[in-house]
Amino acid sequence: MLWLTFYSAFYDWGRTPLFYGRRPLQSEAVLRNCPDEQRTALTQACGVRHAKYHTFAELLAVTACREGRASLPMQDDEVGVVATGGPLHTPVAWDFTRTIQRHGVELLNPMYFPHMLQSSVGCTVSAECGARAFAITVGHSRASFHECLVAGSDLINSGFARAVLIPSVNDGGPRNRVLHQGAGRDGTPVDVGLCCVLSSVRPKPGGVLVELKECIMSFLGARNCTNHLRDAESDFVAEHLEPHVVQSPDATEPLRWLDRWDAYAATAAVSMIEAIAHVDLEYAKPRPVSVRARLPAKSVLVSLTVSLEEPTGDF
């Protein structure tokens, strides 16, 4: 059996898992449109050595995953990382490339070099949080978080790790806003700093318990050749929740934030949190929740059982 817990870089409760108790979850717990001064403060507070060379996405991931890692009673080589988000590297890659074009190789600072790659988020989390089994980064489509769950559960079930940290992050900063506008997209890129912990060890009792029942990537038959990766969100909305377990009569409500904001590959992770938060929970009554990401060529179905447990002790 595998369990999920979530941690946010923006959550003010310190080590408390997001779903502790029955406190109402607001999207602000995982989404933030950070003003520049808040970015600087978060960068300084993250405690990462040489933080100025890192992307903001890396720092968000480390902040969230440090809390997640602390919840796992395991050796470092029993914990792996499967990261997603994106684009994760563009602010550093942009400045690095512009320096080459303006000044040549001589003025390049190689300290920035590893941070101009997509892989930097997973590797930085691995180094800073103590996860030595592997550090894999899965590409930045709307369904990537679900793909991370598939990969993470496969890796755990095959004995490559006992737990996997899944940072799902997005940098809504100035450079990515330029990208977003250049592509002619609607909405505004938003900052997301989320860590999903997928573990074979049951979390401590107390609060919302999420069990991963099934995680299936399946492929559809005849397909159209349109926006394979970009349009995944359309079916998130349509098939998001089992209606009978949703508190709200409108099953699409959890994704309303997408009208204003865009979190790219972190979208699915935020949506899953909101889906779980809308389940009408009662103590000792497990509820099934299915979250499906469907792209033109495939669908990824994640089936969960969500229950509420009495807390036993303080966090």
Binding site: T97, P114, M116, C123, I136, A183, H228
Partner: protein, 395 residues
């Protein structure tokens, strides 16, 4: 132990436009090198790189997706690997790349400098969604049974991680195929970054030689088609037998000098493959030609393989193909086990690091079907090792 047969391969590299041409080039020690400034006029530093002759590096919009050199390479290798697929069966595609279509960044930064980037929505979109993954997804979904599983970015272990995820995805499911693609085209930032870091060779790339002074940047795409293990056949196949992973903390770009990362990944792969170190007939090593990597890897090899099996590296011939390099190693391990020939590291004789039986000058014969170990390493401390060979009953 796993036993997933390799049923197709494809490649495009500086040595040829197919795996057969590339393999022939590896066996003969052929090389194709150009100056970095031939590819990127803005670069005046750096000694040389390997490059694919005649490659089209233009960025164009194809069906709304930015298409550049990396996507073209990925599709060429993938199609070759799929060419010999027989019968039906679903093909799930996994891919890996170090930097995707990185020319997008240099193209857009250049245009932004002159205020000419606003009308290039498909290029901006290509950065947001990664046009290589998107392009491969669109291509494979045109076929009734194919679809993209996931696209992986793990620096130079990208294609190895993709291979592992692909193997896990089809494992235990009858009649399924997984196509794995590793790709990277030369990138301005990559060549400049390694040059600035002092890791690029100023003379010639000589992996595991005492005279080595750095790595040689390269480009290419490799593809490998796996079949799920339950699909039995009377034909004898080289199979993927096992895999091992590790991620260390030592340094963002340099390996732990003790070689512990390599060692852990290799031991894990041997254990999963149920193969003893003494049974290994050959090694296809990461061997970049840098002082740090080769020293660490050689230490690990000495500890794990006291019987010193013959070892080779492709980086002198192919160059370091970044995200594709791990899969090129896997193709070589597969071909060595299938054909019984391990290609040379360099066409000349070098004094190798102690404890490494380096294949040099000409190919070395290995027993057909014997297990071969291949390794890969990447920025961020990632290590991967795989074992290819015939299953125990066929050896």
């Amino acid at each position: 132990m796993w036993s997933m047969p390799v049923v197709g391969v494809g490649a495009i590299s500086s040595l040829g436009k197919s795996w057969a041409e590339s393999w022939s080039g590896l066996l003969s020690g052929r090389r194709y090198r150009v100056s970095p400034s031939d590819v990127f006029p803005v670069l005046t530093a750096g000694h040389h790189v390997t490059s694919i002759h005649g490659i089209d590096r233009t960025l164009e919009c194809v069906n709304g997706v930015a298409c550049g050199a990396a996507l073209r390479l990925a599709l060429a290798a993938g199609k070759e690997a799929l060419a010999n697929i027989l019968g039906g069966g679903e093909v799930v595609v996994y891919g890996g790349s170090n930097h995707g279509e990185s020319d997008l960044v240099s193209c857009l930064t250049g245009r932004e400098e002159i205020g000419d980037a606003r009308n290039e929505a498909h290029l901006w979109e290509g950065l947001l969604i990664d046009s290589v993954a998107e392009g491969v997804a669109r291509e494979v979904q045109n076929s009734a049974h194919n679809a993209l599983g996931s696209w992986v970015y793990s620096s130079c272990t990208s294609s190895l991680h993709a291979l592992l995820l692909a193997a896990l995805a089809i494992r235990g499911t009858p009649s399924r195929y997984a196509l794995v693609i590793g790709v990277d085209a030369l990138s301005l930032a990559g060549v400049a970054g390694f040059t600035a870091a002092g890791a690029a060779t100023q003379t010639d790339c000589r992996p595991f030689s005492h005279r080595r002074d750095g790595m040689l940047m390269g480009e290419g795409a490799a593809a490998l088609l796996l079949r799920s293990e339950e699909a039995t056949t009377s034909e004898s196949h080289v199979c993927l037998l096992g895999a091992g992973l590790y991620c260390e903390k030592h340094h963002p770009t340099r390996p732990d000098p003790s070689g512990s990362g390599f060692e852990r990944a290799i031991r894990q792969a041997l254990s999963r493959a149920s193969v003893a170190a003494e049974e290994i007939a050959g090694l296809v090593l990461h061997g970049t030609g840098t002082a740090a990597n080769d020293d660490a890897e050689a230490l690990a090899v000495r500890r794990v393989f006291p019987n010193r099996p013959p070892a080779t590296s492709l980086k002198s011939s192919l160059g370091h193909t970044m995200g594709a390099s791990g899969l090129f190693n896997c193709l070589t391990a597969f071909e060595a086990s299938r054909s019984g020939a391990l290609p040379p590291t360099t066409p000349d004789r070098e004094t190798a690091i102690e404890g490494i039986d380096l294949v040099q000058e000409c190919p070395r014969t290995v027993r057909i079907g014997a297990p071969i170990v291949t390794t890969g390493a990447a920025f961020g401390g990632n290590y991967a090792a795989f074992v290819f060979g015939h299953t125990l009953t066929e050896r």
